[in-house]
Symmetry: C2
């Protein structure tokens, strides 16, 4: 499995990887000792890049590791009762994939690359071992999972209640934020996923998504040319999305 992968062997590289893939979520805020970082370094592998359509894992695959997206993007999806694909998430650089598989011991959904994508593999058993003697790492893991729960609660709310335009605006803003955090243009980027994927994730029909893009463009909120979007009115989009993520604002 891990044979053609490149090991990240030196500290410098790891920190770079951390910056890129937000493994910093896992280690930076802890201010770990050098020897601890080296220990983490020993278990974390950089996988060779996935290409568009490649599986990171399939539904039902045994759960062995978490994955941190370094670059590119991943979609996770499951199948509905009627056998169609139901997208459960888009995972951008800095986000973890696989947190939902810990309980079951196998992946409840499949993960595929939406474009050329590089990920770090974090073998879970090893991570657990290490976390027993690195104070704070365990806590950090729990934090990460808690944050995931919070995010999903948020998503639940807008899927239940928000209008189609609010959902799409919120998604675009999420992408925008991710790019900003990584010091890329928060207003101009490519959508790596198809309209169908977006529709599935947002619980809408493809036609609706397509119409929304057209409408947003007419209203001067953005320019869209196939996969490429340029957000022209972030404030307007925020208004449409509804102040959003209300869960986070009250702490």
């Amino acid at each position: 499995m891990a044979s053609p992968d490149t090991r990240i062997v030196d500290l410098k590289k790891l920190q770079l990887a951390c910056e890129e893939c937000s493994l910093h979520e896992l280690c930076l805020p802890l201010e770990l000792q050098h020897e601890d970082i080296e220990e983490l370094d020993r278990i974390i592998h950089k996988r060779r890049p996935l290409h568009r359509g490649d599986y990171l894992f399939r539904m039902g695959d045994p759960f062995r590791a978490l994955f941190a997206v370094r670059s590119g993007s991943i979609k996770t999806y499951t199948n509905t009762d009627e056998g169609e694909e139901q997208v459960t998430g888009f995972h951008l650089p800095g986000e973890l994939v696989g947190l939902d598989a810990i309980t079951e011991g196998c992946h409840p959904c499949a993960a595929r690359a939406l474009e050329t994508t590089s990920v770090c593999e974090i073998p879970f058993e090893r991570l657990e071992e290490i976390s027993t003697h690195i104070p704070g790492l365990q806590r950090q893991l729990l934090r990460l999972m808690s944050r995931e729960i919070l995010t999903e609660q948020d998503t639940m709310i807008w899927l239940g209640k928000k209008s189609a335009e609010a959902r799409l605006a919120a998604l675009l803003l999420r992408f925008s934020d991710n790019y900003r955090r990584r010091h890329f243009s928060p207003t101009e980027f490519n959508l790596s996923m198809s309209r169908t994927d977006i529709a599935s994730y947002l619980g809408l029909a493809v036609e609706t998504v397509s119409r929304l893009f057209t409408r947003f463009q007419h209203e001067g909120l953005l320019e869209v040319e196939r996969k490429h979007v340029r957000l022209r009115d972030l404030e307007g989009l925020r208004r449409i999305a509804g102040v959003e993520s209300c869960l986070h604002n009250h702490c």
Copy 2:
């Protein structure tokens, strides 16, 4: 805070509590040593009962502990941008409340008792301390959180895609399952929450929920008299809910 609470002092009582409130989720599957159970026992307190409308915690309260529902029921909710209540979950006996607060250090939503409700309080810092030297307890914590994530993904899917009747049917079946697991009648029980709460949680209008109950009754799926329901056709409800929780079936 804990002054009027009753400590669970003996093993027998703890095991009873575990049975009741599914702290067995936390400890039983681990087959802990007696001294470990005693250590858990030392930190877990049984709170004195909450009454209808009492807060378990308010939005923004500092996060100190997880709570396991022993009997009764709890609703958690946040506020929408427009200031209305948005129910984020119903928590029945055997379920944990507070998993979404670990990251932030404070509660992103409020929790109130829907009826007379008894909970166990599990101080989180202490739990973390203990879990560092009880192998398996930490793992169990991660499992629990992962399961929560899975459940919410499931919920996301039906909020996005399923019809109003499917949502209500699914909710009723979830209640039914909880009662069955606790050896109560899975077909006859009281809904502790208002129609408004149900509607909010399911992302529907109150009127729709009300109409659905009436329709289900006409179709012979259930009998409903105010808060009391008697499910008459579980199979039919399952069909309506859609095979459901497709996420869990593929492992």
